[in-house]
């Protein structure tokens, strides 16, 4: 492999990685918020909105991100809504991730013992207080494993952003292959870039999961 070529192009990958990371961070953050909101609506069983959330989750989980991006980027302008590439990427990732996060939190909520709710209610707390202080913290803790695998899944999904003309890692790679025919080098650097992005997240998640599982609720001493 042509290492001097690789060295000369590294900066492109750094720029691409920065963009990927930037879009992914914002998209995932919004996805978490959307997921939280959806799971709360389902939990509180708010009529009508609950059904809307249900439709959204099915729609989101059963269509590929690429199609969602095409819809945002090429479809919406036809009805007069123009979004920038970055906006499309963030909205797309939020739309996709929101449903995955909602499912993660729902599993977490379902696994909070019913008696916990009764106890909190019997102490005079309102439904909302019970949810906020007793149910939600435990649900979040329960949902950490699925939550973590969702983050990694969403990070990987960002590789389709190049489809809406964003100079992310995939875009840079396709460009280099197109211009210089350095397929091996370009692909190698792409794999390495994604590894560098994902490994720390993956390791962080493993540690977090272990903490939740073995030392429930962040307490270091004893067992």
């Amino acid at each position: 492999m042509d290492t001097s070529f690789m060295q000369s192009q590294v900066f492109l990958y750094i720029e691409g990685a920065k963009l990927t990371l930037y879009l992914a961070s914002i998209g995932i953050l919004f996805a978490i918020l959307v997921g939280l909101l959806c799971s709360i609506i389902r939990y509180l069983n708010i009529p009508i909105i609950r059904q809307i959330v249900g439709v959204y989750i099915e729609l989101s989980r059963n269509t590929p991100l690429l199609i969602q991006l095409f819809f945002l980027y090429f479809g919406l302008p036809k009805i007069g809504i123009l979004l920038s590439s970055k906006q499309c990427a963030i909205i797309g990732l939020t739309f996709l991730g929101g449903s995955y996060m909602a499912e993660a939190f729902r599993t977490g909520l379902d696994n909070v013992a019913h008696i916990q709710k009764d106890i909190a209610l019997s102490l005079g707390m309102t439904q909302i207080q019970v949810f906020q202080y007793v149910v939600l913290p435990q649900a979040i803790s329960n949902s950490i494993p699925v939550f973590c695998s969702n983050i990694i899944f969403l990070m990987k999904e960002t590789s389709v952003f190049s489809a809406v003309a964003l100079a992310d890692l995939m875009f840079v790679t396709k460009d280099l292959i197109g211009i210089y025919y350095k397929t091996d080098e370009a692909l190698f650097m792409l794999v390495v870039s994604y590894l560098i992005l994902l490994l720390p997240i993956s390791i962080g998640c493993t540690l977090l999961e272990r903490k939740v599982r073995y030392a429930e609720y962040g307490n270091r001493s004893a067992i």
């Binding site: 102490l123 005079g124 309102t126 207080q129 435990q138 429930e216 609720y217």
Partner: protein
């Protein structure tokens, strides 16, 4: 003449609109009095306690607290629960909070009392149940008996008028039963009004001013403990005691 605390009149409850789980329950408890409810499992004891503090809805009947009818309307029900505390069989604390956080949560959020004041009171109560050194531990570091004592303290910190205890030692290892019952006995001495569902007959006899015996959702007998355990009025109570080997 002691003040009337809780009056229950003709209470009816079913979960499926067919089988009555509670059938025409009527009794009352005065301030400072302790009632023990006995009866075979499945006779509706837990359901009754849950109805009394609004965790379950009531189909018919009236519950009065200090002479005032309890509103079972959903939006107001948490106000009643402040006044009627409950401790459950499963000694669940909130697992994501330390013992002190478990204790402070409800008084702070529900009664909006000052944190320092609650903590001070919590410490006093923890001393009384011998668990002050556990205040910064998490629930999983405590034994079942210790957790149940904390659960009692947690309910007490809300300063309830009445405390409902639902088989609070049934899920404990035998060697821990005593330490929890001791706490309840002392509470009784301090004049706490309590309704205690229990399978510990000796304990019921020692702690209660009145025994209520239930079967199949109905009250069969209300009696003084001395009489109930020596010469019960009803044959069914007699059979129940005989089956428990406690009738001489």
């Amino acid at each position: 003449m002691k003040e009337m605390m809780l009056e229950v009149e003709h209470l009816k409850k079913s979960y499926d609109n067919k089988n009555l789980i509670l059938d025409d329950i009527t009794f009352s408890i005065k301030k400072g009095e302790v009632i023990s409810i006995l009866g075979p499992s499945g006779c509706g004891k837990s359901t009754l306690l849950k109805c009394l503090n609004g965790l379950e809805s009531v189909d018919e009947g009236v519950i009065k607290l200090k002479g005032e009818k309890i509103e079972t309307e959903k939006r107001k029900i948490h106000k009643i629960r402040e006044k009627i505390g409950m401790v459950f069989q499963s000694y669940d604390l909130f697992p994501h909070m330390t013992i002190m956080e478990n204790l402070v949560l409800a008084p702070r959020k529900v009664q909006k009392r000052k944190k320092e004041e609650i903590q001070e009171e919590a410490k006093q109560l923890l001393i009384r149940v011998g668990l002050l050194d556990k205040k910064d531990n998490y629930p999983r570091q405590l034994s079942g008996g210790q957790k149940q004592r904390v659960a009692i303290v947690r309910a007490l910190l809300m300063k309830p008028e009445v405390l409902l205890l639902d088989e609070i030692t049934a899920a404990l290892d035998p060697e821990m039963v005593c330490e929890v019952l001791q706490v309840v006995l002392e509470l009784a001495k301090t004049g706490m009004t309590m309704i205690i569902v229990t399978h510990e007959l000796q304990f019921a006899k020692a702690v209660a001013d009145t025994i209520i015996f239930m079967e199949k959702g109905r009250i069969i007998e209300i009696n003084h403990p001395e009489q109930f355990f020596s010469i019960p009025k009803t044959d069914r109570a007699k059979q129940f005691l005989e089956s428990r080997g406690k009738f001489q």
